[in-house]
């Protein structure tokens, strides 16, 4: 009886959370003519799965998708390359400046680029980096670094030193030990860091909106808003593109769910 009530409450919660996204999906499946009916209908009369194909065939969408993939992949690679050595060294060594370094990393985690957007734009303007991939890639990498350092550091710290010492005896240098022994043993942490960095860059909006003004240089988050403006209202295409952008990240997010809170709250919830 109690379990039935709990399941009913859970079902209600899931429905409430998903309801807006059901509207998104059903609108994406409507023909243009059905977007403007009063009163509005929830279900399409004529189902148009072809809207998804139309979006995929749109050269604009292809540009935005390419920019999003390039920026998210490149910034994720930089995050891992920068975070792994820093996480390893701070997990294994005490040294002057260690606390200061970790403090600075923690502060950057809480500083979204939003607060610094005017300064970031000044920097890009002065260095002639407006509308370049480099500016967007490096900004995403810097602001997603902290999460990767926390997660990797926790996994590295949990690996017994004896395993590393054995690797050292076998002739691995310290960098070799990190790459060949420590990272493979920390695979769940590495996967979490990679997925988190990728999704955060994939979803980033304000810096892309500010720095990427050329149409072919916009990522998905900025580009798809041109489906609905003061002049054109292709809500079905906007939402078809949104569904295509959201579904993969929800699946990836579900994979790393267990580790998210620990990384985002920097271990304060124990």
């Amino acid at each position: 009886m109690r379990r039935t009530a709990l399941t009913a409450a859970g079902g209600l919660l899931a429905s409430a959370v998903l309801a807006p996204y059901v509207v998104m999906l059903l609108t994406a499946l409507k023909p243009d003519a059905e977007l403007r009916t009063t009163p509005p209908r929830l279900l399409p009369v004529a189902w148009r799965p072809g809207n998804f194909l139309a979006v995929l065939a749109d050269p604009g969408f292809a540009d935005w998708l390419r920019v999003s993939l390039v920026v998210a992949a490149a910034s994720t690679a930089i995050v891992v390359l920068a975070a792994a050595p820093a996480a390893y060294y701070t997990a294994r060594h005490r040294f002057v400046g260690r606390t200061a370094f970790l403090f600075v990393v923690l502060v950057t985690q809480m500083f979204s680029p939003t607060a610094l957007v005017v300064g970031l734009y000044r920097e890009a303007f002065d260095l002639d980096l407006v509308n370049t991939y480099a500016a967007l890639i490096l900004t995403n990498a810097a602001f997603n670094l902290a999460f990767a350092i926390w997660i990797l550091r926790a996994f590295f710290a949990s690996i017994p030193r004896e395993i590393e010492e054995a690797a050292a005896v076998d002739g691995c240098g310290r960098a070799g030990t990190l790459v060949r022994v420590v990272l493979p043993l920390s695979l769940p942490g590495l996967v979490t860091a990679v997925i988190f960095a990728f999704i955060a860059a994939w979803n980033e909006y304000i810096i892309a909106l500010t720095l990427m003004t050329a149409p072919e240089r916009k990522p998905l988050t900025v580009g798809i808003t041109s489906y609905v403006t003061a002049y054109v209202q292709h809500w079905n295409h906007l939402f078809a593109a949104s569904v295509l952008a959201i579904v993969p990240v929800v699946v990836l997010f579900a994979v790393i769910e267990r580790h998210l809170v620990g990384g985002l709250t920097a271990g304060s919830v124990k």
Binding site: T7, L13, M24, T108, F111, V118, G119, L145, F155, S242
Partner: protein
């Protein structure tokens, strides 16, 4: 010992370079810009001292924007935490289908905020939106409401979306807090014959306090920084009547006729200072230290 220091620089170097180039440099550039004058195309035209800060205080929109920001942050965080306490309690129970419900809750967290914001612009639409259709057919409303056009409803409509997207993170933080409460605490309460509500109020809530503090402070920082929701849902309305400090700053710098880099930078410095205060408050509440025990990726 000197060798060790160089060694540390080598391992931390890439991270330090990123943070230096993308966080510190812009922060310094922001302060610099707040002391200068710029042409409408963004070219530096010389120093004006503290003049931008003085002009900021004279902006007629500033009081409204400050009040909006306080309401936006306080109400979104407050409602989110109260609802999340209930959701965490529910998801902490074992029932068939719980995994599915937890996955559903992930969706607003993982989805791009700008896409969710656009979705709600459509749902709130006066003529074609699902919300008016639902509420008028249930006779909750006698006629449709222009949710994003009426001064009386814009902030409420934005707050609802703010709460919607903040629930997952908050619920998960509180779930982690609940998971850390040892079961034998409840055994003792059951032996003592305490009612469910009394147990919750006298045992669960006090033990949940650290997780609650984390949820409140981190959410306050996130919601203060939140840009896409206010930017998108308030898009139609002229002026600054429903802006927060972050969207006001952005409009001054990049969108309105003002294009006033110096003025926007002055407001940006104020925003950064406020966030720094919140971060320090956070670090005090979690009693942060750099020991390995304090950092755990295993929730």
């Amino acid at each position: 010992m000197r060798g060790r220091r160089w060694e540390a620089l080598l391992w931390l170097g890439p991270s330090l370079a990123l943070i230096g180039g993308v966080v510190f440099y812009p922060a310094v550039a922001l302060v610099g810009a707040s002391l200068g004058r710029y042409s409408i195309t963004g070219v530096y035209q010389g120093s004006v001292g503290a003049d931008n800060y003085a002009r900021l205080l004279q902006q007629p929109a500033l009081p409204v924007v400050l009040v909006n920001t306080a309401v936006w942050v306080a109400v979104v965080v407050g409602i989110t935490v109260v609802i999340s306490l209930g959701l965490a309690q529910l998801l902490n129970e074992d029932f068939p289908g719980r995994a599915l419900v937890r996955w559903a809750l992930i969706v607003p967290w993982a989805a791009s905020l700008i896409m969710t914001s656009k979705l709600f612009v459509w749902i709130y639409d006066y003529y074609f939106g699902a919300l008016n259709a639902l509420l008028t057919s249930l006779r909750v409303l006698p006629q449709p409401v222009d949710w994003l056009g009426e001064d009386a409803t814009v902030m409420g409509a934005m707050i609802a979306v703010g709460v919607f997207v903040s629930l997952p993170f908050t619920t998960y933080v509180l779930l982690a807090g609940l998971a850390s409460i040892p079961g034998d605490v409840y055994e003792a309460a059951r032996v003592d014959g305490a009612s469910r509500w009394a147990t919750y109020r006298r045992l669960t809530l006090p033990l949940l306090k650290p997780a609650l503090l984390v949820a409140v402070v981190l959410n306050a920082i996130y919601v203060f920084n939140s840009f896409p929701i206010v930017w998108t849902l308030n898009d139609r309305n002229p002026g600054f009547a429903h802006d927060t400090m972050v969207t006001y700053m952005y409009k001054i710098a990049f969108k309105s006729a003002l294009r006033d880099v110096g003025l926007a930078a002055a407001l940006g410095v104020v925003n950064v200072a406020l966030i720094l205060l919140a971060v320090l408050a956070y670090l005090r509440t979690v009693r942060w230290d750099d020991g390995d025990a304090a950092v755990s990726g295993r929730a």
